[in-house]
Every structure is written in C-alpha cells, then in structure tokens.
Chain length 203, copies 2
C-alpha cells in the first residue's frame, strides 16, 4: 500500500491541507514596504519568501552556532499570525500597543488547526521574543529586507511615516548583533538616507 512509504496519517493530512489553504491569505496581506520596482506594496508571503532566501544565501554571515534550517522554518511561519491579527507597521506605536494580545489570540486560533501546531506556535514565540541566537539572526533579516527596499524606493515608507533617525537606528540595532557583516552597509545607507531627506533627523 502507498501509505507505507510515509509516516503521517490521512486525518492529520486533511487538517494540514486546510491550514495550508488558509495560508493562501498571506498573499493578500499588504505590508507598508513597496517592491523595488515601486509597482505596489509587498505581501507577507513575498516578504517571508525573501527573508527565507536571505537566511539561506547569507548563512555564512550568521553568528556561529546559528541553525540555518531552523531559521528558515522560523521565518516561513513568522508572519502567519497576521492572517487573523493583520500587519502592524513597526513604526506605528499606537497599533503596536495591543499587538501582542491580538497576535497571541491569532496564534491560538491558527495553530490549533493542525496537530503539531504547538511546535509552530513555539517557533513564532521564539521569533517574537528575539532572544535566542536563531531568533536574533531571523530578526536581523526581518529588519534588513524592508530597510533595503525602503532605501531603493527613495525612502518610501520612512517618508510616508515621517520616520526619524533615532527610530530607524533603534529598529536596526538588532542587525549589529544578528548580521554584523551588514552593519557597515546599514550605517552608510542611514547616513545617505538622512542626507537625501528619506529619514528625518531627530528623535
């Protein structure tokens, strides 16, 4: 019988397929960041793919001891809660206040669909806490990708939100720790972006 060549059971398979169909909604969640060609805002699915590719390509630049395969899985699921909680713009401090509660409720709802959902929920919590080495590398990628898109699109998101130098510096700080090879590039871009008026000086 065909069943003998894999270890899962059909009942769980159907639940997982249901979960994967819900995941299609990640293609309809639009972030603040726009594509480098400026044609539209990027989606959560696109962002997640991009940073998973970055984790893979930049693996030699992760702090030693980082488990790249775990990081890739972490970033593939890191924004799934937004299917129910929506995307919160990182520089929107008002919306960020109840983000934690909204996202935990979303996680409970979403990850209860599949039998091993607890495993995914833990991976998402670990990402969100930004404390473990894997989560710090993942967080650095999660910051660097929109940062690059912002710079290449003439500071689109920074200008739209009137984002200040100090806030960008604070937001990017995790890159120094999680992806130190990028730190010099990030600093150069920040200086350039202030000069060009993409980022406002001040707090």
């Amino acid at each position: 019988m065909a069943e003998s060549i894999y270890k899962g059971n059909i009942e769980d398979f159907n639940k997982k397929m249901q979960f994967l169909m819900i995941a299609d909604q990640m293609k309809g969640i639009y972030r603040q960041t726009i594509l480098m060609d400026k044609s539209r805002r990027e989606t959560d699915a696109e962002h997640s793919w991009h940073i998973a590719l970055m984790a893979m390509v930049l693996s030699d630049y992760a702090p030693k001891g980082t488990d790249i395969n775990r990081v890739i899985k972490m970033v593939l699921v890191h924004d799934l809660v937004e299917i129910y909680a929506g995307d919160t713009f990182c520089y929107d401090y008002k919306a960020s206040q109840d983000k934690e509660k909204r996202e935990m409720e979303a996680a409970n709802r979403l990850f209860s669909i599949i039998p091993d959902g607890e495993e995914y929920k833990k991976l998402w919590i670990e990402f969100d806490e930004k404390e473990s080495p894997d989560a710090i590398f993942a967080a650095a990628l999660d910051c660097l990708q929109p940062f690059m898109n912002n710079f290449i699109t003439d500071g689109h998101t920074w200008r739209k939100g009137g984002v200040t130098l100090q806030k960008v510096q604070k937001r990017m700080a995790v890159i120094e720790k999680g992806l130190p090879a990028a730190w010099e590039l990030v600093q150069k871009i920040i200086v350039d972006s202030v000069e060009k008026g993409y980022i406002k000086e001040g707090e």
Copy 2:
C-alpha cells in the same frame, strides 16, 4: 573584531546582497494561477513561499528518506531563473519548447553573481530533472499548490487555457509518487472539476 563571529568575507557578502536585491524581482513575476480570494494573479515569490511552507507542514507525508531541509531550500530557489527567463505556463506547449535553453542561460547569468552560485544552480537542475527523491517531493508540491488554487477559484487557469482532463492527469502524475497522501484528494477534485466544467474531457 565583529568578523570573528561569522565565517564569510565582506567581498562575498556584497555580491550576495546584490543577488538578494535582484531576487526582489520575483515579486513582479505573475503566474497564471490566481490567489484564492481571486483578487489577482500570484507572484513567483508568493508561490515559492507557499510550497516551502507546504514542504515544512507536510514533511510527515514525504516519502521516507526525503531531506526536508534540502527540499525547502530547493523550492525557495526553484523559480529564480524566471527573473531572466520569465514564467512559462505549464500547459503552453509552444513556449515550453525553448524553455530549457532560455532557463539554462538565465541560470548561468543569475547564479554567476554569487561565489556559491554553482550550488544553487545544481539544486535548480536537480529540481528541474524531477528524478531524485527530494526533487520528486518538491515537484509534487509545485503541482499541488496551483492545483488547489485552481480548484478553489472555480478552475480559473484550466478554463482560461481550455485544459483537458488528460493533460491535468499527466501533469498531476508526480503527486502519486511524491505525495501519495494527496492522491485520493487530487482524484476527487479532478472528477469534481470535470463535472463542474472546470476541466474539459478529452486529450
């Protein structure tokens, strides 16, 4: 010095960042498949994310011996050549004729940007040949995702292309081998899709 905590060098880092910025173009390559909410065609970046998530979530249903971490990497890069070669609709037999040549030229151009590009090129070739166990599982996911989106969107792509039962069956055959747990579901959906007029009977 910061350099001591990772093994890569800065020159290669810059090349890899350049490659990763080019990869943003995957968000501008629109496939025939539309999103389940029918709002627009999905992009290569979204498709790649979706099947990477499927590889992760359906790992228990991969044939024993499949290396899931390798499959995830394979699907993350499997469509990158389309940045230079464009997307070829799988049921467009005319465009499929010179697909191989176009895509190999694209692969040579794209993967020569980064020092370890040969590794990515090999992963893509392995995917494209659909012979290794990892590639067969990846190919099954690559077929199943648009298949599900097609069914949920009332056979959008099949109807648009006037696709026949025999062509769908041929295209989906890899699922029986690479993801046998899905085979019964696929067959049910095909029967239902013929009944509903999404798929034309015939060769």
